[in-house]
Subunit: 417 residues, 2 copies
Amino acid sequence: MRWTLPPQQVPQAWFNVLARMDHQLEPPLHPATRQPIGPDDLAPLFPMALIAQEVSNEPWVDIPGEVIDVLRLWRPTPLVRAHRLEQALLTPARIYYKDESVSPAGSHKPNTAVPQAYYNKVEGIKRLATETGAGQWGSALAFASALFDLECKVYMVRASYDQKPYRRVMMETWGASVVPSPVDDPSHPGSLGTAISDAVADAASRQDTHYSLGSVLNHVLLHQSVIGLEAREQLQLAGESLPDVVIGSCGGGSNLGGIALPFVRDETVRLVAVEPASCPTLTAGSFEYDFGDTAGLTPLLAMYTLGHDFVPPSIHAGGLRYHGDSPIISSLVKSGRMEAIAYPQGKVFDAAVQFARTQGSIPAPETSHAIRAVIDEALAAKEEGLERCILFSYSGHGLLDLSAYDDYLHGRLIQES
Amino acid sequence: MRWTLPPQQVPQAWFNVLARMDHQLEPPLHPATRQPIGPDDLAPLFPMALIAQEVSNEPWVDIPGEVIDVLRLWRPTPLVRAHRLEQALLTPARIYYKDESVSPAGSHKPNTAVPQAYYNKVEGIKRLATETGAGQWGSALAFASALFDLECKVYMVRASYDQKPYRRVMMETWGASVVPSPVDDPSHPGSLGTAISDAVADAASRQDTHYSLGSVLNHVLLHQSVIGLEAREQLQLAGESLPDVVIGSCGGGSNLGGIALPFVRDETVRLVAVEPASCPTLTAGSFEYDFGDTAGLTPLLAMYTLGHDFVPPSIHAGGLRYHGDSPIISSLVKSGRMEAIAYPQGKVFDAAVQFARTQGSIPAPETSHAIRAVIDEALAAKEEGLERCILFSYSGHGLLDLSAYDDYLHGRLIQES
């Protein structure tokens, strides 16, 4: 069963968890002075509206009408009960997922790409520069840029650029220009860290250009709150009060934040981050100030990190291959409000294929991390003989990741140590 | 704006146009005797329920509950008003599309794959054999077979098998077995005709196996009527009475039939078939009895055909590369009730990219044929200074066809004569 809402019911305001957290986040520091940064330090990269949102303490932030008009192309997204998966697992748990794969770019990423493009357009910016790993974020910003008539330049991690040509084509279809990163070393496979460095350097060097980031930052998680806000309403329609547990895959934290943060004040609701065992930021990293990129161009953020020079193995969930994590998510894990768990990709693909063969939809490798944890939660409920209401974010489809399924089905997944 | 309906409003019955046509179709003939075939001739290939539907004259055929349960995974599909495309065209026309791309397989094809799998399952069949060209149909049947626990063997046109490995992987993810066709000649690029021959031969040789066809036949168009039935209801919600014109791309005719046939008795509504200039069955073929496949194993159908040995050029809209056409669609074109128009693929991709950059979604090459015709209708309305309500079927997304966009964007589309 699916619960849909009419386009008129897209949320009118974003939920700002910063106004609802028990303690304040530690401030970002300037990369050179190591002093807290101010708005002026960020102005060369971001429009003032986003800089204001980054530090806002208002619990609700109005969504501009022009942004809502675009979100309505696919929002509200459906909430789906995974009946067939439940039946296959013989579990008493009730499993719901918020289907963010229905956006034109196929993931939750346009939820923030659209307002980012909008605020830049309003401030007179003509061109956006960004990085992308597997391509989900670059696709989303290319889509949003097309709708607001902005130029879009995407620095794509070279390994993905070479291995996933269709993501490049998708971005080009929306009119974006895509180049492999690092731009100055054609023999380097690249990483999200190098691609961020390239995009920041581009934006800093041109008056008409801003930088756009698809995760990690507070304003990105703010924009993603529409996921959880809609899900709360749809769970009511489904006859549920609150979920027992909310689960999301976590790379930089935007998908997880989107589904989980609107439940942060509901103390009975467990919040669970799922990450790859080969890039275990939350489960094995340390909480400290670190750069967001490899070259050390970005502000220092207080977060869990594996070190800004950490290069994770080439697992297929490229969107989760990030050394750091959102300061908001990091803070929630540090305080114990949020749990974190890590899985190797073989177990993740087992879950992905079980999902595809029961529910029909083929999930992205990133999303499949959450599905692995959901299945294990549902099996635990069965073991304990307890009902349990599980909510997760189906953050994206896997239709541009089928080479990963090919590797899995034919025994060619890389073995992680 | 989008108009959604809750899953409870999936149609409870299919609309059977055979009960509403002005004259009867000419009967299929046995390939050997050239006499009208009876149910027994078809029993080795199809379950009796589908054979009965093929010749039913009941105007409404109940949809089984187990089929509705599966259709509800994605149906009712949204009806979308293409405001942004209208604005880009500066047209007074109102453009609506029925978004069939939201199914797990990404097209309208599961609408018939699901009931076909169901009826075979009920009759004790263990295994289905079918053909696929570009892969849309094979994907749909692989998906449906997974949900009803049937084995599925797909004979895929060799040229597509080699060029579109991701479609194969999609089918394998759902558990299907996929081989290139023709199976007995590895140097032959294959065609839908050869693949049908392979699949029919497979099904005819095994007691536990039936054959499944994704278009052309009456029962397939019957199952696709859910598209137009839902669209009628959603247009009312949008404040429209009837559309002025209904447009669909046409290969074998199932997508077009699905959107158009529920409007066949509304005489003010123009019905338009759009096909590729390089495979112009309706616009340049002749109406006569012909085989559905290359080897002459299928019954002879009275239809427009380019000849069963016609091999169309390798355009990207593989789903439209068929020498024949649905007898229902052929009859409507012959009688003048339906118009037909053909476009070369360069003009089709111009329309596809304009759609992607305004509405956000990237259409399948097949679907883009309809979009080309829609844009030309909307521009004609502007020229004439007339309002016009246009409805078309957005039959599938192009996320597994991005290599076609790559060719288009970089000037590598083949030139058609």
